[in-house]
């Protein structure tokens, strides 16, 4: 267990929040990009493997996707850094739960998704479930 001095606590939770924020930004931007593109089957240029070039080109030329993918890459390295100052048993469930809650809020506010009671309940269950599994 790492020493939990007052200054460290702030640093630990700042890193957890930062990692979660990068994950949320990445996932919301990628979701927005894919929503803009629509069903990828519509981008297929023909039958067979060659037909997949159309969707790949459409995805890779989308600015939101590229920024979102960059956020996910930064998230990976930020996670490695966070794990150097926070115990995995705290970091993993805390980051996962914050990411699920943040994704749900951003999906409603930014993507305009219909996050009804059923979906809020699912977010709550997932957060508690992740914490219990990591217990």
């Amino acid at each position: 267990m790492m020493a939990a001095q007052p200054g460290d606590l702030l640093r630990q939770w700042s890193s957890i929040t930062g990692v979660a924020a990068l994950a949320i930004a990445g996932e919301v931007l990628i979701a927005s990009a894919m929503r803009d593109l629509g069903d990828l089957d519509n981008h297929r240029t023909g039958p067979g493997l060659k037909g997949f070039l159309g969707p790949v080109k459409a995805v890779l030329s989308n600015g939101k996707f590229l920024i979102g993918a960059s956020c996910m890459a930064f998230n990976f390295f930020a996670m490695l850094w966070a794990l150097s100052i926070v115990d995995l048993s705290l970091a993993a469930p805390a980051i996962a739960s914050l990411t699920y809650i943040g994704n749900a809020i951003c999906a409603k506010l930014v993507l305009g998704e219909n996050v009804d009671q059923r979906r809020w309940l699912a977010v709550l269950f997932v957060c508690v479930g992740v914490i219990l599994i990591a217990h």
């Binding site: 996932e27 990828l40 219909n114 059923r118 269950f125 508690v128 479930g129 992740v130 219990l132 217990h135």
Partner: protein, 147 residues
């Protein structure tokens, strides 16, 4: 709102649920065989790529990313979130029945909650339709052009 998914879309959801967790498990198993990598032995990372478990794990994680993005093209992010969380359940079940680890009551409760969350969301629509496009579709139906 769309309520019905095509069989191919269910297959993609199953791929989202399974590929990440099984891929992570394979990477973990492979890296345990390769050994600890430090700054003085970065060459081990190159060697790790040729470990069958690591190579299979990377292929599965690429498959996860592809299937996740495909799913996002026709489903809401909040619809997919419980499906990705289901990976925790798969890992817990793999550790119980493949690695023969003991799962505590806490973990079984966590598994139950995530399964319930998947059930809640799966019973609803997969996509929030843009009202503008919905009206446009109705206009086309009214004019008979969509028949």
């Amino acid at each position: 709102m769309k309520h019905a998914l095509k069989p191919s879309q269910y297959a993609i959801l199953v791929a989202v649920m399974l590929t990440a967790s099984v891929g992570d498990t394979l990477l973990s198993r492979g890296m345990a065989e390769v050994g600890a990598v430090d700054l003085q032995h970065l060459g081990l990372l190159w060697k790790a790529l040729f470990n069958p478990f690591v190579a299979s794990g990377i292929v599965l994680l690429i498959g996860f990313f592809a299937s996740y993005m495909t799913a996002l093209s026709w489903a809401d992010l909040t619809f997919l979130m419980p499906a990705t969380a289901f990976g925790y359940v798969v890992i817990a079940l793999l550790s119980r029945f493949w690695l023969h680890e003991q799962l505590s009551a806490y973990r079984w409760t966590g598994i139950l909650l995530i399964v319930c969350a998947v059930g809640f969301v799966a019973g609803g629509p997969s996509r929030t339709e843009d009202p503008a496009s919905e009206h446009h579709e109705l206009d086309i139906m009214d004019s008979g052009a969509g028949r």
